[in-house]
């Protein structure tokens, strides 16, 4: 069973990381969405609010996959909504990876 799970993970992980990065324009939109719209609960600086902090140090221990699915599907029992109507899996993955290394500021 564990081996099977590892196999699935092995299948999933390269897929996700091999996905193309969003275009520069889409990346700007995603950064703005995270800062402004996610920011209404997690704070503009992502230090947390009603939702938990999304700073690199607070996410370090968390697996990328679970964060990606939290973004896409939301988290039951908490106010975290699913964002899958507004981004695809590769974009959610891109956001999670940026969050884990310290999220970029908006550029004007």
């Amino acid at each position: 069973m564990i081996r099977f799970a590892a196999f699935c993970l092995a299948l999933l992980t390269p897929l996700a990381s091999a996905a193309a990065d969003p275009s520069a324009e889409r990346a700007r939109e995603l950064v703005r969405m995270v800062r402004q719209d996610c920011g209404s609960c997690h704070g503009l600086t992502l230090k947390g609010g009603l939702g938990p902090p999304l700073l690199a140090e607070s996410l370090r221990e968390k697996p990328v996959e679970s964060l990606r699915y939290t973004v896409l599907l939301g988290r039951h029992g908490t106010p975290m909504p699913p964002w899958s109507a507004f981004m695809n899996e590769a974009e959610a993955d891109w956001i999670v990876r940026r969050l884990m290394e310290g999220f970029p500021e908006e550029t004007r």
Binding site: R32, Q36, D37, G39, S40, C41, G43, L44, T45, K47, G48, G49, L50, G74, P79, P81, P82, F86, E106
Partner: protein
């Protein structure tokens, strides 16, 4: 002779440079959330008079006013509490009072300013004059080692503050008639995850909206011994809840003509409640999930803005007809609306279009457009005289 003339000219000039006397009744602030600044605005001239900078992280910032209308207390997300002088357009005082803060209130007598904090969870009360800390009230619950995020802080008569504990499902009323020795009344098991609260315009009822279940918790502050009761407990029955992309705000209440208009969380509806019985008397379908549901000061209209992704529109409900009579598109990402003191016009912030748009509330004509950097909250000094603002 020449030198006498130049002295005379200098005297005249300096006399002209002296600031003209003026009141503050038509002044206000627009929060510019990304740049940590506030624009001081004049709602008679529909103009920006100037800016005050250096207020820190102003995401979700809000403001209350000293009762003389000269000073604004700006509560920043980063725990900053800044006292801004509207006339001199400068920071009069500034402290960092917490790690993560969500708003505040001013007491009935105007002497106390209270801040509600997420981190460390609780309420802190300051001297409005000096910002000296007078009382620290941690929101401890359960075994007493956990601290809840505090939401829905409102001033209520008797120099009290009412607020809700998001993580604990409690409402507390803190009596600060002796500021350094607050007396607490705790209402437990009021419902799951209260996300915001409001006090009715007469200061009698405190209502907390619930995220974790349908309905709202209501306390009659004139009869606190009756405890909290649940109202609108089944407004969501049988329907699947939509995901909520932004929590509604209850502050900025809409109570008009014996009815309260409340955002239905997770629905595209405004709930209408009879304030005599606190029973639902109607639902008004709207364009998106309501965030602010605000009554024009005369109560004839209710203005509603929406959560992402419907946040580029504003709708107006006519309270006689009980339906939407106007849909406006002021700009991208409408975050807040503020009525002029008697409601002939409304100021609306469009964050992503970097502007504040002023509308006539009778004709819906656009009266002005003012440039602002990512504007969010708009707060006029007329709040100084209103309970719950």
């Amino acid at each position: 002779m020449k030198s006498l003339l130049s002295i005379l000219a200098a005297v005249l000039l300096s006399a002209c440079a002296a600031p003209a006397l003026r009141g503050t009744g038509d002044l206000g602030l627009v929060i510019e959330r990304a740049s940590g600044s506030v624009a001081v605005v004049d709602n008679s001239a529909r103009a920006i008079l100037g800016r005050v900078e250096g207020l820190g992280d102003l995401s979700h910032a809000s403001t209350v006013y000293s009762r003389d209308g000269r000073y604004a207390y700006v509560f920043g997300r980063d725990g900053g509490l800044t006292k801004v002088d509207l006339l001199e357009r400068r920071i009069a005082r500034r402290i960092i009072q917490a790690g993560n803060s969500i708003g505040g209130a001013i007491s009935q007598d105007g002497r106390l300013v209270a801040a509600q904090n997420y981190q460390p969870g609780g309420v802190k009360v300051f001297d409005a004059e000096t910002l000296e800390l007078l009382a620290d009230i941690p929101a401890a619950f359960g075994d007493g080692k956990q601290f809840s995020k505090v939401v829905g802080l409102a001033d209520v008569p008797g120099n009290k503050f009412a607020y809700a504990l998001f993580d604990a499902g409690e409402i507390w009323v803190a009596d600060l008639s002796t500021p350094r020795a607050p007396k607490l009344t705790k209402f437990r098991n009021i419902g799951s995850q209260p996300y915001d609260g409001l006090v009715t315009p007469d200061g009698r009822h405190y209502i907390a909206g619930l995220f974790g279940e349908d309905g709202l918790a209501l306390i009659d502050l004139w009869k606190p011994e009756q405890g909290a009761r649940k109202i609108l407990a089944d407004y969501g029955k049988g329907a699947e809840k939509l995901p909520v992309f932004k929590m509604p705000h209850l502050r900025g209440w809409a109570v008009a003509g014996g009815r309260a208009y409340l955002p239905a969380i997770g629905k595209h509806e405004v709930l209408v409640v009879d304030t005599a019985t606190w029973r639902e008397v109607g639902r008004i379908p709207v364009k998106g999930q309501p965030v602010f549901v605000m009554a024009r000061p005369d109560g004839r209209q209710i203005w509603v803005n929406f959560a992402f992704p419907d946040y580029s529109h504003v709708q107006v409900i006519d309270t006689l007809e009980q339906k939407v009579v106007q849909t406006l598109a002021p700009g991208k990402a409408v975050l807040h609306m503020e009525f002029t003191p008697r409601g002939e016009s409304v100021w609306i912030s469009a964050r992503d279009d970097n502007r504040v748009v002023v509308f006539d509330t009778a004709s819906f004509a656009k009266l002005a457009e003012l440039p602002a950097q990512n504007p969010s909250g708009i707060f006029f000094t007329s709040r100084a005289a209103r309970i719950g603002f």
